[in-house]
Point group: D3
């Protein structure tokens, strides 16, 4: 019997014996082999064009995620057997942004090389982490196809402010880390992108689905045709979710909010569909700024993105038995 | 003529002679016979698992409700002839939660026995009030069927924390106050319920419509088939609305918010459809926490739930002539 | 070369050489001929029935608008050749509301008479500005048809509080500034209008589309039939957008918020459709109160209303070559 | 015995049998003779130069006041025998500010003439109510001396915006309602007043105590010499408290906040000292804007101003036996 | 060398090698002997009369505390040698408030009996924890003297709502856990206490220092005479700090805020003076509600209370060598 | 006569002909000779250890400053003859923090060399701007003495995070830009600095006044003795104000808030005293973060710091005739 039966660790929350929460599956990584999804934080947002607290999102997304049940009642799928390693955060330099980005690259590539069965879920941070993250991913995984959910093309020129949250796909294309024809952009929004940058992605052969396309086709059709194309030409697929692809009413905590965006349920369906595909081996979530959010709503949406990724993976046959 | 023509009661708001507001129909109850809908507050939320200010919702919902017009322009129905008795609040004990719940039970059952034409609209408070409220309802009304709108099953075990806002339907089923086959749960949400509790309600024969079901069928179909089943087996029907069934973007003031929820308009259509049925004789609204809401949005949605209930009742033939 | 290369005007924001923003097209008016859309602020909200900070909306809408790109990626239309004159604000009297309203009338009519090619975009302010604004519009443009997007009829009697934000269409009809048969009200909401006022607009032959109508028909159908009717009977058409027509989840910063409202994308489609029509020669946006908004969301929606108006105009052939 | 022992009026708060609260002493006025302090609301703030929600202050001050105990533990004085009449609010016109101000004048003067033993506590509203209020006070009470606590002189010219919250003492002086030599301004703050207006009050013989004076002398000395002067030359004294006289850290909910202001405790001491004097027969509190306050802090300070006024009056011999 | 040099535990904050923070001294308790100060959380606030989130204060106070430096520059005292055990939180029952209070009593008394060199710092929670906490303290420590900093007497009757945050000293006196003559109340505030309760404490021989006393004497004098008296009659002294003793401008996050309160620096001086005394063996901090605070200001003040207690103890000779 | 009498520039605020505001004195710099005080913004806060929005402070301080009157009623000094040049902001790089700091250095030194009569008022930004700013100041002005108002020493080591807001005085001392004996630190706070850094400044001969010193001496005495010492050993004096020197209740918008800080009025007195001295030739204000402030309170305090600097300069004989 416990000597002090009512003494518990500080900050312990209510436990119901019949409930398995995602938090129960999350373990601080011990350095051993990683199987399945493992979380890693890239809390960099000093690279943002506008003031951003996206550096706090790894914390709020982990917290939101850990509170959800493991059970998908809609599909009768229980994730209770998973182990979700939490690898921790990549440490950021206080005053040297470029070094911080390099640390992301070096850490991701080295980890993926040593842990080939790891399915990274990278928690940004702003969208600038996408370039070092995918660069590291590619070195371990070969030719990469990217499904980018974003209101914006993110191919700004690199001269006007360096490698910021407006430039990651420019960097990826210019350095030939990925080919334009292996990039699919979903959710591109009206009056939120300039014509020169739209022309730029067209010139590189990028597949672009605007919000008008999203409203007119089913998400399943768009994903199906995207995967069909990518599976011919790449070795593995990375899913990048800039949360501002969602409408401002549903994701109020992104730096660049606006109306006319995607419905969260459509995004969830896309993500679980993608997760089911065996070539999809990485996910990142960026541009959640908890300092301007309302009741961590946007982090809760982010958590559901991860949950649907897990559901897709389990549907796709990933097991922990 | 008034001696001081410009002196008015403190806090009087602007009056337009051509507008009848619900507030104009609301009367503090005088102890006489109650006909039709009467409001009663059950402002208990110390019973909540997480910190909750749902105890303030009776006040904010009344305030929101009283400001709306009596006129449904969509259906050309005017409620201007109604009298809505406000019975007041059931007093809560400061430190004894169980006694507070008992007071709800005792007050509801005694009132219903003495005022059989009363259609109670119970304003929570958290979802723990559902057990004493329906227990009281049943003693006066016979076998009860319940239509529960909720993201959650609410059948947690009673050992881990007593009769909280997570347990009301467990209590109702365990005490056989209602039969599982007379319970319909609508809006059950992904990753928000554990498998053991889903199995539990299935075992009890509860009808469950998840959000996936809600997205795939029309609300009218779900309600029609629910009522068809219940009208065979019960004496009266009680509608329980946990406002967290609504999507977090539309009902941001619930303790357990999240994405992937019901659209408010779907709920309104369900409620007015149910209200029209003569066996539907009670309504409760729970889990609105005004202390974390934005501009009383969630209380405004709650007010529209009541308005649609009234509209249904009038459509169903309830008159005050 | 610049003597102090890093010294810039205070408050300069980041500039990307490949991006043309609406702000780049906006010029403080120099008194010369105005072509196309010109903004004018009518920052009056002391006329509101409830406390309103709508007087700040001209500032927040301008700021939101100026940050968007000129490029509609959905329709491959670039507005980069436009010049958008900013005529400034109409000065308001501190203590004399009626004089403030007269200033709006006088300024609008005089400007329109002297600048017949000006397409005014009037930024309220509350809805009381509609009467002086349309009165001025009419004197310059002849018989006027009005497409009013609003949750409310806005035909309150004038005795109970003078010419407020609840009365503009009453004033317009009573003074025969517009005919009831030339008024179309879209988005009228349940329990938000009294029967006497609904009867009043019906008596005057106003076309009314409730939210139920909006949910059941396509926006394009409603606009098509509205324009077909108006183009027979008027000389020019004015579009009045009370932002509270939008659902509270998407436009949380209006004084009179509530559930059951219009989807912003439906409004955008209506506006660009209307903008395309050559007889549509004026637009106003009212009832945005930035002091109660969340992250200027409602001003961002307002900016998209203007953007879609511009897009419609360009689709309709307006050019600046 | 109560038929429903737990049913209570909606919104009833916790009652402790051993505690008498000010709220227990407050009675809605029944039209009978008023003795001692009676509250009256003048909820006008459309007259303000800057956007102000001071119209809500009568409600928040009443609420704060009613929650305090009747007992001054510091001086062992209990107000439990008082009756505090609440006369209600003076109704305001929606669109006619000048008429609203006239209603204040007419109501105050008529009430004071008919109820000579009434000690009015006028709850603004903005500072523009001071002119009509003191004008009414004077007609009933003869020559008036005014002790004004304010960071500002409030003698702006009347041409630039009419009778606003910046002009009340200009109006009082220009109309000779009060003489400059009978006006004492306390708490005038650095860089918050223009030289011409400072010269203006000097020219009129107004006594001015700046914040520097307040820091260097004791409040008791300043009050003593002020009363000594006024009691020679006036029939009755009116105390006007613009809450922005207090430092912004302690009264954060005033429209014109700033550092370098008065300590609340100094104000309380001044007020109870003044209240004790038999010639002091009226008090007003203005410029509290609850919409920008933090947790009604400023209304709580306002309530303590009233409490100290009551304490002073009881110390001065006012009894209800 | 670290295999992944940039990978760190999630949520790691910036570390400066030259800075020792209190957080560096805090260790999760391992069950071994406790020396000196040890923190324990009593996160109960369902016992509060008004809605309170004081249950969250143990978390916010720990967080604030852990960020401060160990070094008192004012007195050149460094606490860097301390070990501060964090015993964790006492688990609370979801629905049984009385059981929760009993758990506090049982845990505190058992711990103190087994660890006589422990100096408990109890983090509330609301003020209801004081009764079980001091009851436990007394069983281990003999006759107890209490220095209570509070705006309120906290001796409400127990009939009207049970053992709430308004009753702890009533319970202590009625059960003779402490004698009235061994209780000193400091900071009792005007209009915040009823006469019957003031009479009650007087009758019990309690020493009362109102805020007027605090303003007129030095804090050192008050503490000196208090200690002089207590050291004659008790075995050990417990310091209870209800944070609402501080003025609302400096401690805005207490449930019962108001003006006219104590300056934080005076409290700090009192606490370090008390801490220096060898008979002072326990400290509690209650009534901090982080859900209504501004930027955790009140938790920061609470942390400084603890820091000054530590400083006093070190000045008093407590060492860890 | 104006063609459109009511048309004014957007965002024009109310003008009173009898009031001269500081904003009326502020002119966008035209490149001509600068006399007296000129504002320059250094909106850098990506260099901060913790997330900071201090980059927005130049905007909010300018706005607060421009709204104050030119007249000091406390000393009968009017600044109405001043011209305050606004030189604008130094542009910051999006991703290269070190380059941003260099731009501050280069701009300040070049400007000061070309405009020797300029009295710079530098608006940060975080405290990291102090190193480049003073380095530039020194190159133009010779040996520099610094009066630093700060709760912190700001001499962190440079290895752990580069040149951040924790290191400016370390950089200044290590590079011998200033001598330790020419540095006076005022307001150093308890438990907010580590012993090694306190030893470091002592070793360098820095004069340190802790908050205890500030409470025990008059501010005038501290300033007098500081100036007496510096005027012997330096060519010019620079005043650096980290706003967190002020108590958190009065300056709630600093990143590192806490209790036990300086009273704003004491700071104002220090600044006007210093401003009067002819050797004091520069002022900077840093660490105001408007994104976490309450109603721009902290920017208002900052504005008063500048106002008192101007008042001191005028008292010291600076004229614009
Ligand atoms: Ca984006
Ligand atoms: Ca992006
Ligand atoms: Ca629920
Ligand atoms: Ca529930
Ligand atoms: Ca409307
Ligand atoms: Ca309207
Ligand atoms: Ca004032
Ligand atoms: Ca005033
Ligand atoms: Ca207390
Ligand atoms: Ca207490
Ligand atoms: Ca500092
Ligand atoms: Ca500093």
């Amino acid at each position: 019997m416990k000597p002090f039966p009512y003494l518990q660790k500080a900050n312990t929350s209510f436990t119901d014996r019949e409930v398995t929460k995602i938090g129960d599956l999350m373990k601080e990584w011990d350095g051993e082999t990683i199987r399945g999804v493992g979380l890693i934080g890239a809390h960099l947002s000093k690279s943002s064009i506008s003031h951003s607290g996206a550096c706090f999102a790894p914390g709020t997304i982990r917290k939101a995620l850990s509170g959800y049940s493991t059970y998908s009642v809609e599909e009768n799928i229980d994730l209770a057997n998973w182990i979700i390693q939490d690898l921790g955060d990549i440490s950021m330099h206080i005053t040297d942004v470029i070094q911080s980005q390099n640390r992301i690259y070096e850490t991701v590539q080295q980890l993926l090389k040593e842990h080939s069965s790891w399915l990274p879920v990278v928690l940004g941070g702003d969208n600038s982490i996408t370039y070092p993250s995918i660069k590291g991913f590619k070195e371990a995984k070969g030719e990469v196809g990217v499904l980018q959910f974003d209101a914006h093309h993110d191919v700004r020129n690199l001269e006007d402010g360096g490698p910021s949250n407006g430039t990651p796909f420019r960097s990826l294309l210019e350095t030939k880390t990925i080919k334009g024809t292996n990039l699919v952009q979903v959710g591109i929004r009206d009056f939120s992108n300039s014509k020169p940058y739209h022309d730029y992605v067209n010139k590189h052969g990028v597949t672009v689905y605007t919000m008008k396309d999203v409203r007119q086709a089913s998400m399943k059709e768009l994903m199906e045709s995207s995967l069909k194309k990518l599976e011919q030409s790449v070795d593995s697929i990375y899913v990048s979710v800039d949360m501002d692809v969602i409408d401002q009413a549903q994701a109020p905590g992104c730096p660049a909010i606006g109306p006319g965006g995607m419905d969260a349920v459509d995004l969830f369906e896309a993500i679980s569909y993608l997760g089911e595909h065996p070539m999809v081996k990485g996910l990142e979530i960026v541009e959640v700024d908890p300092t301007v959010d309302f009741r961590d709503m946007t982090s809760r949406v982010a958590a559901h993105v991860i949950l649907n990724f897990l559901k897709g993976k389990q549907r796709g046959g990933l097991t922990f038995d």
